[in-house]
């Protein structure tokens, strides 16, 4: 039984959510690692799309940016950014939008814009990028981030990308094409939305993690699913592929600097 870090089980667990043939619009960072791990293990035919316009990228090393050359060189084709957002995302061609987040509330609404007041932010974050439309135009959305009270909050400071808004059917008022966030994968477990209230509840914990640990890392009173599961541990094969991918990436990004 290989041992592994919390980031590793989070990435492995997120990768497992993607099926071969799924068309996935990949956010940079954690989602990109997970999506490529899926491609290199159980889902060789997963189609990875990056907002820089690359369709069907098969990078050998992880991109640092959303537009690294590796993504274009290994893509089936590269389209312009207006075409990517209009024909492919807004056009309804994306099965899964895979997003990271800075802040998340219990209804899966995401903040990547500001901490504090918008006009006088205590921390200015990068902003929406493609996320606000990925969240609404993709058929469903997976969210991936490390679990902590700072990130998992009762109320987010700014809704950058809407999830289930104020819960229940409140989101319907926006006539959103996609069905929204269907799972949140963290370093402690997996959260899924209650079918009625749409509040995210703990549906699986990673091995060795207690429910109390997860509650302690959550800024709202986290509910637990009746059928709470336990994530199966990463296989040696999954970990080997993931570690090789990270090693290749580290070396490539260092080399780039002559």
């Amino acid at each position: 039984m290989a041992d592994y870090t919390p980031d590793e089980i989070m990435t492995v667990c997120a990768a497992r959510q993607l099926k071969s043939g799924t068309v996935c619009f990949v956010g940079i960072g954690l989602p990109s690692a997970a999506a490529n791990l899926a491609r290199l293990t159980h889902a060789p035919e997963v189609v990875l799309i990056y907002e820089s316009g690359t369709i069907g990228s098969k990078p050998d090393v992880l991109p640092l940016s959303i537009g690294d050359g590796e993504l274009a060189e290994t893509a089936m084709t590269v389209v312009s950014v207006p075409e990517m957002f209009r024909y492919w995302l807004q056009g309804g061609r994306i099965d899964v939008g895979f997003l990271a987040a800075a802040q998340l509330d219990k209804y899966g609404n995401i903040n990547t814009t500001v901490v504090g007041d918008y006009d006088k932010p205590s921390v200015r974050l990068p902003g929406a990028g493609g996320a606000s439309e990925i969240a609404t135009s993709a058929k469903e959305v997976f969210v991936m981030l490390r679990q902590s009270k700072r990130a998992f909050v009762e109320t987010i400071d700014f809704v950058t990308s809407v999830g289930f808004y104020e819960g229940g059917n409140s989101r319907d008022q926006f006539r959103i094409p996609g069905k929204g966030p269907t799972r949140v994968i963290t370093d402690l477990g997996i959260l899924t939305p209650d079918p009625i209230t749409r509040e995210f509840v703990l549906s699986s914990v990673h091995p060795g993690v207690t429910v109390d640990q997860v509650k302690a890392a959550t800024g709202w009173a986290l509910k637990v699913a009746d059928d709470l599961g336990t994530t199966s541990v990463p296989t040696a094969a999954e970990l080997t592929v993931l570690r090789d991918l990270h090693a290749r990436t580290k070396q490539a990004h260092a080399e780039a600097a002559e």
Partner: protein, 279 residues
């Protein structure tokens, strides 16, 4: 017809204080050298537009060239914050800047509308987002057929678009490939356009349906090899990801930033002045 000239002349003749300028590039082909020349020429009161303001915008802002920014994602990709951008927004250093914030889908559509001679772009966007509460340039339009309500943003029509491309021919026709971003739209939406290129060749040898900008939509072409570094030029040199990581340390403090700019930009001639000297 594009004038094939030096970077210094291209900037001097096409970018004025107070202009609205889009230095575009989506990670690939960032017009870094052109931005440095704008800093050396001390342009002021610029409104700068960019979907993904990155290091060159951090530098333009930190050096006081910018009074207004229109953007949709402002960060150092894969690394973290743009410290000069944050310092300006959070602390007003070197002076306060205004900003107009959008999402990528809206800005990409707004550039396409600008290139298309339309006054606005409609999109299925900003649904449930807080941004429309803070940006009066996000409005709504009803479909005259279905009655559906769509988001609307004004077309982007810069005074000047500045891009970097792989090649131009001797008539000033431009070819770019790989991740082409919104550069064609930015150039066609703008009143004037400056293009820096890796090389000037006799024949573009463009493949069918390639992204080609005819000379007659470009104002000036300057040959600036490595003009996109530390970004990259597909087929020429890779992205210097390590430099993007180093920038985090350089830009974090005002002093280290100013020193780096002094040593690496202000006191350096335009790269093509050297290149041209060598012939």
């Amino acid at each position: 017809m594009a004038k094939i000239t030096s970077l210094a002349t291209a900037v001097a003749e096409n970018i004025n204080d107070g202009d609205t300028v889009a230095f575009e590039g989506f990670t690939h082909l960032i017009p870094m050298a052109a931005g440095h020349e704008v800093i050396r020429q001390k342009r002021r009161d610029l409104t700068v537009i960019r979907m993904t303001p990155d290091l060159i915008y951090d530098q333009l802002i930190g050096m006081g060239c910018v009074t207004r920014l229109v953007f949709s994602w402002g960060g150092n990709p894969g690394v973290g914050s743009l410290h000069r951008f944050r310092d300006a927004i959070e602390n007003g250093w070197p002076h306060k800047i205004e900003y107009e914030e959008h999402g990528h889908a809206a800005m990409a559509s707004a550039y396409a509308a600008g290139a298309s001679g339309l006054p606005f772009a409609a999109l299925r966007g900003y649904l449930g987002s807080d941004l429309p509460k803070h940006n009066p340039n996000i409005r709504w339009v009803d479909c005259p057929f279905t009655g559906e309500r769509l988001a609307a943003v004004p077309a982007i029509r810069p005074d000047v678009a500045v891009i970097h491309a792989q090649k131009a021919d001797r008539q000033g026709n431009v070819l770019l490939w790989g991740i082409v971003g919104v550069q064609k739209e930015a150039v066609l939406a703008a009143k004037r356009a400056i293009v820096t290129v890796e090389e000037i060749v006799d024949d573009l040898n463009a493949p069918p349906n390639a992204v080609v900008l005819p000379s007659w939509v470009v104002s000036a072409v300057a040959c600036v090899p490595k003009g996109a570094a530390p970004s990259y030029a597909h087929g020429y040199y890779p992205r210097d990801n390590a430099f993007y990581q180093r920038w985090d340390g350089i830009a974090r403090e005002r002093e280290t930033f100013l020193k780096w700019m002094q040593d690496n930009v202000i006191e350096c001639p335009a790269p093509d002045s050297k290149v041209r000297a060598h012939g």
